[in-house]
Amino acid sequence: MSGLGAALNTALRALQANQIGLTVVSNNIANVNTPGYSRQRVLMQESPGIGDSIRVGTGVEVIGTEALRDQIVERRLWNETSAKAGSDMTQQSLSDIEGLFNEAGNTGLLPLISNFYNSFQHLSTNPTSPELRQQVVSTAQSLTHYINTRANDLRDMKTATDHAIQDDVARANVLINQIADISQRIQEVEIQTPANDLRDQRTLLIKKLSEIMTVREMDTNGTYQLTTGNNRPLVVAGAAVPLKIGTTSDGMTMVMSGTTDVTSEITGGTLAARVAFRDQSIPQYQQQLDQIAYDMANQVNQVHAVSYDPDGNTGVNFFTPIASTEGAALSLQLNSAIAADPRKIAAADQASGDGNEAAIALGNLVNAANPPRGTVIEQYRSLVFQIGSETASARTNSEEHASMLTQLENLRSSISGVSINEETTNIIQFQRAFQASARIISIVDELLQTTLAMGTGA
């Protein structure tokens, strides 16, 4: 049966449905600038028709709201976020090392190396001059001080990076706990209705976590799982599995999943970048600086120890002997006996102590290779080249990831982002439908009044 009452009901439902539509639009507009927000739309469907011979529809009903989100795009976005955060961190860290070995503006290690070897050549012009001997001592001390300081800087960087790794793990664990909580709530809410807002929040939290490391999400058949890039659990069925921190035998921080050391398998994000910086980059530059200090000390000592000072003494090392390459840059020191008495510098190659041949030979070491390695200067040259090219490629890398991230964020926006123009159009749509339904109600009201008036004989 279809009558005026049915028309009224249908109109009422339409009013309600379009009102909900307007509310959803309003929510979208309100969240136009909210990070992580996915636009929603109201889901309407027609109500089942009634009547036997003449079947008439009963209007519209709202079956829910839907968030427009492409989980594949979200996941790609997380991965790219990891890559970007990691490359930014690498670039920043390498720039710090680059600053240590910046030769621009005539400061840096190179002038000190040159001055040091030149001071021997200068001494050769007057081997007994106390001033020239003092000059050798001073240039040697400036050089050792500089190398010690740079070695210290590298060591401090390593320690600072190690602390930052601990901070990263702590921050990751806070996020992991929050993600577990939200996943729990999503499960509870979604027994009834899609938890759009909670999912947005979780997506945003995972994006934040992705800045620290790459994660993987599996969300199938109601079981939710978040793991590291290498499948170590972080959230399992609504329960957090926080990462742990351990200490390696050489006192460095290691990241652990349960009792397994996962430090080296973490990929992406600031955490992996910091681990690589601590375990690969810094040791590599430490090693190069150590090698320079070691070769220099050995070369100079070898010549100096067989040469003679003006008093005919021999067998004295110029630098305190260094046993092994490791830590050489930290321990490089001028022999304290020479520092205390520059007359002990051996400038002569004959037992009488007369002559300048040893001073010349020491000065010429600036051009002497350390087979299979090159001269000290050549070694330093390749260090500068390496830090320069690594920093440059890290910068390019970071710029590329910035572009790719922007592209993906735009892709996400094209799916989930709010467009004011679109929402405004929706407003008009819902508004007109609301107005039309209201019009129907008023027409039905008129018709009913007319019908009622028929009985009064007016």
Partner: protein
């Protein structure tokens, strides 16, 4: 593709940042005058600069050494010039004595004085170093004993200085090659004075012959000094020339091309203006403007 409101702002921000970075880079070039302010600006140029800087610093020392060598050789040459004049005078006195045209006692007295003058030439000092003492430069080259005998107390080292990666240059001539070499001039003078006192013309003649031989030795030593000075000057010229080449190379490696930097700066400035102008209009066209 569906365009959401935030895409426009996101792109704009990225672009403006990029342009600002480029602008800053050219600005740094202009203000510092260098296109390379850190190794990552151009790693291989930075590495080359290490080489060039080191080579220049070492060469500067070589240049210094060559200068020192020239000064020393010059000092030695001046001393030998004095020596020759003294010898000439002694020879004149000896010849006069031979001819009997002078008073032997007066001549002997003068020669004795001239012998001391020769000693002081032989002990010429430069910057606190005895120039004719071999490498034993901090004590006098010749010492006069109480009985008047003068002996060489230096050594026979020919001191050399480094003036190039693989080249050294002799900067001193040991006194035993000049004053007490094939002719020991101090002994000769002692003998001459004895001969003059005794009045033996043949004995005087023996010593005059030695004097002439000594004079020739000094002459050839001065020729050698001249050769060494030429060598040092050539080394100096070579080093100076090489340094000019290195400076030019260095400039190519690190100096900014100001014209290019300025044009890049202007370019990015224009781009920034355009981007910000467009940015101000992002989102300014809206359907809302057409609804009442």
């Amino acid at each position: 593709m569906r365009i959401a409101d935030d895409s426009g702002y996101r792109n704009l921000l990225l672009d403006i940042q990029r342009i600002a970075e480029r602008m800053q880079a050219s600005q740094t070039q202009i203000s510092s005058g260098k296109k390379l302010t850190k190794p990552s600006d151009d790693p291989s140029a930075a590495a080359d600069i290490v080489n060039v800087d080191s080579e220049r610093a070492t060469s500067a020392q070589y240049l210094d050494n060559a200068g020192t060598a020239i000064s020393r050789l010059q000092i030695a040459d001046n001393a030998l010039d004095g020596v020759q004049q003294v010898i000439d005078r002694i020879r004149t006195l000896a010849l006069m004595a031979q001819n009997g045209t002078s008073s032997p006692s007066l001549s002997v007295e003068e020669i004795s004085g001239l012998r001391d003058q020769l000693l002081s030439y032989a002990n010429t000092e430069f910057e606190g170093q005895y120039m004719f003492a071999g490498s034993n430069t901090d004590s006098a080259a010749f010492e006069k004993a109480s009985n008047g005998t003068i002996t060489y107390s230096g050594n026979s080292d020919e001191v050399r200085l480094q003036v190039g990666k693989a080249s050294t240059l002799q900067s001193q001539i040991p006194g035993d090659q000049v004053f007490s070499g094939s002719v020991d001039i101090f002994q000769t003078l002692t003998d001459l004075m004895a001969a003059m006192s005794s009045g033996s013309t043949s004995a005087i003649q023996t010593q005059v012959t030695k004097l002439e031989q000594f004079s020739q030795n000094v002459s050839s030593t001065r020729t050698k000094l001249g050769g060494l000075m030429n060598g040092a000057t050539a080394a100096q010229n070579e080093l100076t020339q090489a340094d000019l080449t290195l400076v030019a190379h260095l400039s190519k490696l690190q100096d900014a091309d100001l014209a290019q930097a300025l044009s890049e700066f202007t370019q990015s400035q224009n781009a920034l203006q355009a981007a910000t102008a467009v940015g101000a209009r992002v989102g300014s066209i809206s359907i809302l403007d057409y609804l009442k």
